[in-house]
């Protein structure tokens, strides 16, 4: 029997989870850099050099500023830096490095007729207000005494289907139960056109 293979240890980047050597091709090399400098300095010798130069620049900058207006400028600089980092984290990223577009918060209500005399009311977009769809569907079902279910709609988005035509007072119900949802962000779809409710 051959000697037992030992699992090899691979260094994975703590930021983007790729093996460290592939960080440069990863989704966000810029953010990996500090981690790489700390944990895998030998993989990217250029990076280290760059960082050193930058560091040197900063030090000299600071020295200058201290020389000009002792102390005060220093504090301002550090506060500006922290502000910058927190802003960066806010931006969520999709795979591929594209920025995520913030979706407009609106609830769209649509009536679909089936079997000529029966219809379904579809409510889309409640999740954008931080409402749990399963809870919402339960509440809707209870209020209107009909079946209400969470369904995967087109384009993989979840929506609530409620049996029956409840358009007449769903708006009131939504604004009453979830005060977060303003009336002006509720829309009906009538003849393929978006119409504001209320």
């Amino acid at each position: 029997m051959a000697e037992k293979l030992e699992p090899a240890k691979v260094l994975y980047c703590g930021v983007c989870s790729l093996p460290a050597e592939y960080c440069e091709f990863g989704p966000d090399f810029g953010r990996c850099k500090p981690w790489l400098i700390e944990n895998a300095p030998d993989l990217y010798p250029d990076l280290l050099k760059e960082a050193n130069e930058k560091g040197a620049d900063k030090v000299s900058d600071q020295l200058q500023s201290v020389g000009i207006s002792s102390g005060g400028a220093d504090g301002a600089q550090s506060s500006a830096q922290t502000g910058g980092t927190s802003k960066k984290e806010e931006v969520k990223r999709l795979p591929g490095g594209k920025l995520k577009k913030k979706e407009r918060q609106e609830v769209i209500i649509e009536k679909v007729v089936r079997n000529k005399r029966k219809c379904i009311t579809i409510v889309k977009g409640l999740e954008l207000f931080g409402i749990k769809l399963s809870d919402a569907s339960k509440k809707l079902g209870k209020k209107f005494a009909t079946g209400a279910s969470v369904v995967k709609g087109p384009t993989e988005k979840e929506q609530i289907d409620v049996q029956g035509d409840i358009i007449y007072d769903i708006v009131e119900f939504i604004t009453d139960t979830w005060p977060d949802v303003p009336e002006r962000s509720i829309f009906f779809i009538e003849d393929g056109k978006k119409v504001q409710a209320g």
């Binding site: 029997m1 293979l5 699992p7 090899a8 989870s17 093996p19 050597e21 091709f25 795979p95 591929g96």
Partner: protein, 181 residues
């Protein structure tokens, strides 16, 4: 293959019966003789082996909630990249040139010229329709797992079009799913 892949895509996961486990273990054993000594550690007989089925005829073999192997239809079982990184010598190796890395990491299939150029290396023994590990010029670790479309000799002589289908690559959906609960 795994460009978009998340927990929602799982259609069923079962702990499979012993005979199926034996079959899976046997086929992995046959496919990767290099793993012979560690198969027992990877797929311990005691801990339950879970087979996760996903759309597109995709099956994952999961042990202790870590995905280890995947296969498509009745194709050969292929290790996930994390596993391959630990045991780099179990698969035949292809190497692509540096220019191709970017594309492979965004999920492109591997074109013949990327393998035949000076930065690329071909293992001449590889037949068509075999799993291979894709390495990159100047890098130590594999960056993708592929399924050859033509034999290595053909890749060399035709030198055009898709040579290897990329199945699983770094930072795709399966890679991000480190653990599966």
């Amino acid at each position: 293959m795994f460009k978009k892949f998340c927990l929602e895509e799982i259609s069923s996961q079962n702990q499979v019966k012993a005979s199926v486990q034996r079959r899976i273990r046997q086929s992995i054993h046959d496919e990767y003789p290099g793993l012979e000594t560690v198969v027992e550690d990877l797929l311990p007989k005691k801990s339950p082996l879970i087979v996760v089925k996903c759309p597109n005829h995709l099956t994952l073999v999961v042990v202790n909630s870590v995905p280890l192997f995947f296969c498509i239809r009745d194709g050969p079982y292929m290790p996930t990249l994390r596993l391959l990184h630990q045991y780099p010598n179990i698969m035949k190796r292809f190497q692509v040139d540096r220019g191709a890395i970017k594309f492979v990491l965004s999920g492109a299939n591997i074109m013949c010229p990327g393998l035949t150029s000076p930065g690329g290396v071909l293992d001449e023994e590889v037949e068509a329709e075999r799993p291979v590990a894709i390495y990159a010029e100047g890098k130590q670790h594999a960056l993708a797992i592929g399924f050859t479309k033509m034999s290595a000799k053909d890749i060399k002589s035709i030198n055009k079009g898709i040579g290897v289908d990329t199945m699983h690559y770094l930072n795709d959906g399966l890679w991000k799913m480190e653990r599966l609960d």
